[in-house]
Symmetry: C2
Subunit: 145 residues, 2 copies
Amino acid sequence: MFSKACEYGIKATLYISEQALHSEKKIGVKDIAKEINSPEAFTAKIMQILTKKKIVKSAKGPSGGFFIPKEELDKIMLSEIVEAIDGDHIYKGCGLGLDQCNADKPCPVHDKFKLIRDELAEMLTKTSLLELANGLDSGLTFLKR
Amino acid sequence: MFSKACEYGIKATLYISEQALHSEKKIGVKDIAKEINSPEAFTAKIMQILTKKKIVKSAKGPSGGFFIPKEELDKIMLSEIVEAIDGDHIYKGCGLGLDQCNADKPCPVHDKFKLIRDELAEMLTKTSLLELANGLDSGLTFLKR
DNA sequence: GTCTTTATATGATTTTTATCATAAATCCCA
DNA sequence: TGGGATTTATGATAAAAATCATATAAAGAC
C-alpha cells in the first residue's frame, strides 16, 4: 500500500507525537530508529523530507533532535505525511496504472477503485496525529513487533 | 496498490476475457502486449504465472496462445489474479508493515485500515472477469491510454 | 519427418527502491 | 572561541522489482 519509506515516516512521526504529549524534549534519530525498528540512516533521510515539508521541526546541536509542538498534533493529518513521502499517487493514480483514467475514459475497474480510494483518502485526511498518539499513549496500540 | 506485474496480469486477463466473448480463438502474447501496452517478454512471464495457477489456459504451436473458456468467465474473480501475482499481502498485511499486527496487538492504524482492506477484498472477490469484460466489450471502459 | 509458430523456461540486464556511509553545517557549552 | 554533539546534505552500495534476451520444447501444417 505505502512504500517502506512512508511506513517508517508514519511510525516516526507517531513516536514523536506521543513523546510530545508528555515533554518538550527533542528526539534524536537514533532514538526514533530504535523505537520503530527502522534502519537509522534511512530514517534520517526520511526525517529530512518531513522537516522540509514542515511536518516536523528539527533542532541541531546537542540536545537537538526532532519534535512537534503539542498544540499542532490535532492539526496534522496522516494524509500530509503520506503525500509528503509517497505523493498523491494513491489517491489519484489508476488502479491498473493507466496514465489517463477518468470518468470519461475509465479503465475497467475505475469506478470500483474510486470508491475505495476515496474512502482511503477520507480516512487519511480525517485522522490526526493526536488521535493516533493517544492510542499509543494509552497502551492500546503499538509501533513495533 | 498493485505491482506492475499484477497490473499487466489483470489487463491481459481482461483482454483475453473480452475476446472469449466472441470467439474461441487463442491469443498470442504478442497480441496481448500490443493491446495492453506492456513489454512483451515481461508479459510472457506473467502469463506463465497465470497459466500455472490455472487462471488462463494455453496451447502451443501454430494458432496456439492463451484463452479462457467462455463459461468460466463469471466464475473467475479479480481476487484470484491479484493473489496469484501479488499474493495476499494486500488483504492481510499491516498498513505500517508490522510483522505481527492484529486486534490483540494492533498498530495505530490497524482498525482504520482494516475497514478499507476488507472493502477492497470484498470488491475483488465479487468482481468477475465476465462483468469487466462486458464493460470493455460495450465500449464503456478501456485498457490503454 | 521437417519446418514454422508459439508457449515455456531460465538467466541477464536495467531500473527503482531501500539501505548504508561519509562529509558538511549548525548549535550548544565550556 | 573552539570542540563535541547532532542534524543536514549528498553520494555510494545493496536489494528488489521490472524489463529484456535467449534457448528449449511442443504442436500443427505441409
